[in-house]
C-alpha cells in the first residue's frame, strides 16, 4: 500500500511543480530565455498569501486570488522594465542577448531574496490552510485536507491555462509568437503585449504555487530556490518551451522524487534532478517529449 501512497503523493507534488514549470516553459517559448528569478515569483506568492491573511484576517479563499494578482503584477513589471532589450532593438547588448537575460534575472532573484529578507525578516511564516480537516483517508491513501484541496485547485488552474493557451484569442497569439516572433509581428500580432501576458501569467502561476504550498512549506526569503531548481529540471526534461512536455515531466519528477526519498539516500536527493538535467541537455537537448528544433 506504500506504493499507492507514494504514487499519489508524488502526483500531487507534481501538480505544484507543473504550476511552476509551465510558466517557465511559456517564458522560454516566447523569449528564448530562462527566468532565473522564477523561484522568487513563487516566494512572493507565498508571502502575499500568508501575510495578507495574517494582517487582514481575511479568509484564505480571498487571499489566494490576491497572491495570484501579486505574482502577475511582478511578472508584468519584470517584463516591461527589464526584458525589453531582448527584442526591441537595443543595440548595446548586441550578440549577447542570452547573457543579458541571465545577468538580469539572476540579479533580480538576488535582489528580491535580500529585499524580502530585510523588509519582512528571515523568519518563516506558515500560511493558513484552505480546509480545516487535517486528515482525509481514502482507502489506503492519507493526506491533509488542505493538500487535497490545493491539488484540486492546481489541477483546475492547469486545465484552465491549457485551454487558454490552446484556444483563446490571446493564447493563440502567444503560440504564434513562440513559433516565430518575426512572422507573428508581420501578421499584425503585438509581440510585446504577448510577452507581457506570458510573463504576467507565469508570475501568477508561480505565485499561486507558492501560496498553495505555504501551509506545507513555510514562507522564507529563500523558499523559492528549491521549486525553481525543480522547474529547471522539469522544463529541460519536457523539452524547453513545450507545455504538455512540462506537465508530463512535472508528474514524472514528482513521482520519482517521492520514491527516491524513500528508497535512495535522502542527503543526495537534490543532486539526482540536477544530474538528470545535465544528462538530458547533453544527450536529448530537445527534451524527452519535445521536437528536435531545426536551424538553418
Amino acid at each position: 500500500m506504500l506504493l499507492i501512497d507514494l504514487t499519489v503523493n508524488g502526483l500531487i507534488i507534481g501538480l505544484f511543480y507543473a504550476l511552476m514549470a509551465i510558466g517557465l516553459s511559456l517564458i522560454f517559448g516566447i523569449l528564448r530565455i530562462v527566468n532565473f528569478a522564477h523561484g522568487e515569483f513563487y516566494m512572493i506568492g507565498a508571502y502575499a498569501y500568508t501575510l495578507i491573511a495574517l494582517f487582514f484576517g481575511i479568509s484564505p479563499w480571498l487571499t489566494l486570488p490576491c497572491a495570484f494578482i501579486a505574482g502577475m503584477a511582478l511578472g508584468w513589471a519584470t517584463e516591461r522594465l527589464l526584458m525589453r532589450p531582448l527584442y526591441s532593438g537595443y543595440a548595446s547588448w548586441g550578440v549577447m542577448k542570452d547573457e543579458y537575460a541571465v545577468i538580469i534575472t539572476f540579479a533580480l532573484s538576488l535582489l528580491l531574496i535580500n529585499l524580502v529578507d530585510k523588509v519582512i525578516g528571515p523568519n518563516g511564516y506558515r500560511g493558513p490552510s484552505l480546509v480545516a480537516t487535517t486528515r482525509v483517508e481514502i482507502g489506503p491513501f492519507m493526506a491533509s485536507g488542505h493538500r487535497l484541496m490545493a491539488a484540486g485547485i492546481a489541477l483546475l488552474v492547469l486545465i484552465a491555462v491549457g485551454l487558454f493557451v490552446r484556444y483563446s484569442y490571446w493564447g493563440r497569439q502567444i503560440q504564434a509568437v513562440a513559433q516565430n516572433r518575426l512572422g507573428a509581428s508581420l501578421a499584425g500580432i503585438d509581440t510585446a503585449k504577448a510577452s507581457s501576458i506570458v510573463f504576467a501569467l507565469s508570475g501568477g502561476l508561480a505565485a499561486l504555487a507558492g501560496a498553495l504550498l505555504s501551509p506545507i512549506i513555510n514562507a522564507t526569503p529563500d523558499v523559492g530556490a528549491f521549486p525553481a531548481v525543480k522547474s529547471y529540471v522539469i522544463v529541460v526534461l519536457g523539452g524547453m518551451g513545450s507545455i504538455p512536455g512540462a506537465a508530463v515531466a512535472s508528474l514524472i519528477l514528482g513521482v520519482l522524487e517521492s520514491f527516491g526519498a524513500v528508497y535512495i539516500s535522502y542527503g543526495y536527493r537534490d543532486t539526482f534532478g540536477l544530474v538528470i538535467l545535465i544528462l538530458v541537455l547533453l544527450f536529448r537537448p530537445h527534451g524527452l517529449f519535445g521536437e528536435r528544433s531545426r536551424e538553418v
Partner: protein
C-alpha cells in the same frame, strides 16, 4: 593625438595601464590602512578579483556564460584543504594540486558543454555548481560536510599575505593581457562574436573553448586555494550561488569584457559591502540593484564612464581652428 578605441590592441594596452594603476594604488594602501581587519578585507577583495578576472575571461571574452565560478573556487580550496587535513600535505603541494585538479575539472566541464549555448549553458553550469556543493556538503566522512575544514595558514604576517596575493593578482592580470594580445585573444573574441563565422575562418572552436574553460577554472582554483590558506577554513559556503552572484555583480559593475573592470569592480564591491554591512546589511540589495541598472542602461559598466572621460580629455589638446581668421 586623440585617443581612439577602434584599435583592439591600443584598447587592451590602455586597459592594462589602468589596471596596473589600480594595483599600484592597492599596493600603497597599507600605508594608510593600518587596521588588520581592513587589510583582511582587501585580501578577500583580491580573492574575488582573481575569480572575477577568471570569469571575465570565460564570459566576457569568450562568451561562455558559466554560472560556476564560485564552484571552482570552492574546488580549489577543498583540494588543498583535504590534502592537508588527511595527508598533512604542505601548501606548496596543496596549492599546485588545487590548480591542477580545478583545471582538469574545468577541462572536463568545458568538453561537456561545448555544444551548449546561452540559457542551456547557464543551466548546465548552474547544475554543475550545485552538484559540486551538495556532494561536498553531503560527503561528511571525507569533507566533514557543512562543518568545514580547518586549513593551516602559510604566513604569520597579514602584510606578507597582502603582497603575495597582490603579486599573484598582478601575474594573473599580466598573463590575461598577453593572452588577449596573442592570436589566442582574437580567437576567443571571434568565438564570442560569431562562432560559425569564426569556425569558417579556421578558428579551432573546440580547442579554444576548452582552453578558456580550463584556464578560467585553473585561475579560480588557485584563488580558492590561496583563500583557504588565508582564512584557515574552507566550507561549502564558498560555492553558494550567491557567491557566483557577487562575482557576476563585480564584473558587470566594473565592466564586462574589459581588463580593469573585474579588478576595480571586485575592490569596489567588496570594500563597499563591508561598509554597508555596518549600516544594516543592505549590501546585496544595493549590488543586485546596481547590476540591474548597469546591465540595463550602462552595459560597459564603470569602465565605460572612464573610457568616455579619457576620450574627451584625449580630444581636448587639439582645439578646433578658429573660423574667424
Amino acid at each position: 593625438m586623440a585617443v581612439t578605441f577602434n584599435d583592439t590592441r591600443m584598447r587592451d594596452r590602455i586597459q592594462l595601464v589602468f589596471s596596473l594603476g589600480i594595483f599600484a594604488l592597492v599596493a600603497l594602501l597599507p600605508a594608510i590602512v593600518r587596521n588588520e581587519y581592513w587589510q583582511g578585507v582587501l585580501i578577500v577583495s583580491m580573492y574575488f578579483a582573481m575569480l572575477a578576472a577568471a570569469w571575465n575571461l570565460l564570459a566576457g571574452y569568450t562568451g561562455q556564460f558559466s554560472l560556476a565560478p564560485a564552484a571552482f573556487g570552492m574546488i580549489g580550496a577543498y583540494v588543498t584543504g583535504l590534502l592537508s587535513y588527511h595527508f598533512n600535505a604542505p601548501p606548496l603541494v596543496g596549492i599546485p594540486a588545487a590548480v591542477v585538479v580545478s583545471a582538469a575539472i574545468g577541462f572536463g566541464l568545458g568538453r561537456i558543454v561545448l555544444r551548449l549555448r546561452g540559457p542551456y549553458l547557464a543551466l548546465t553550469t548552474l547544475s554543475f555548481a550545485e552538484i559540486c556543493r551538495l556532494v561536498i556538503s553531503n560527503s561528511i566522512e571525507i569533507t566533514r560536510g557543512d562543518l568545514g575544514l580547518s586549513v593551516p595558514g602559510i604566513f604569520d604576517h597579514r602584510l606578507t599575505w597582502y603582497y603575495v596575493m597582490l603579486g599573484v593578482l598582478v601575474v594573473i592580470q599580466l598573463g590575461l593581457y598577453f593572452l588577449l594580445r596573442a592570436p589566442a585573444g582574437l580567437y576567443l573574441r571571434a568565438i564570442r562574436d560569431d562562432e560559425i563565422a569564426a569556425a569558417s575562418r579556421g578558428v579551432k572552436i573546440v580547442l579554444w573553448k576548452t582552453n578558456a574553460f580550463t584556464l578560467s577554472a585553473a585561475i579560480s582554483g588557485l584563488a580558492g586555494a590561496l583563500y583557504g590558506h588565508f582564512a584557515q577554513f574552507v566550507s561549502p559556503e564558498l560555492g553558494l550561488l550567491s557567491q557566483t552572484g557577487i562575482i557576476v555583480s563585480m564584473v558587470v559593475i566594473g565592466g564586462l569584457a574589459t581588463l580593469p573592470g573585474p579588478i576595480g569592480g571586485a575592490f569596489l564591491v567588496y570594500v563597499a559591502s563591508e561598509f554597508l554591512r555596518d549600516f544594516g546589511g543592505y549590501q546585496l540589495i544595493v549590488f543586485a540593484l546596481l547590476v540591474i541598472i548597469f546591465a540595463r542602461f550602462f552595459r560597459e559598466g564603470l569602465w565605460g564612464f572612464f573610457r568616455r572621460a579619457i576620450e574627451r580629455t584625449g580630444r581636448r589638446p587639439a582645439p578646433a581652428p578658429s573660423a574667424a581668421e
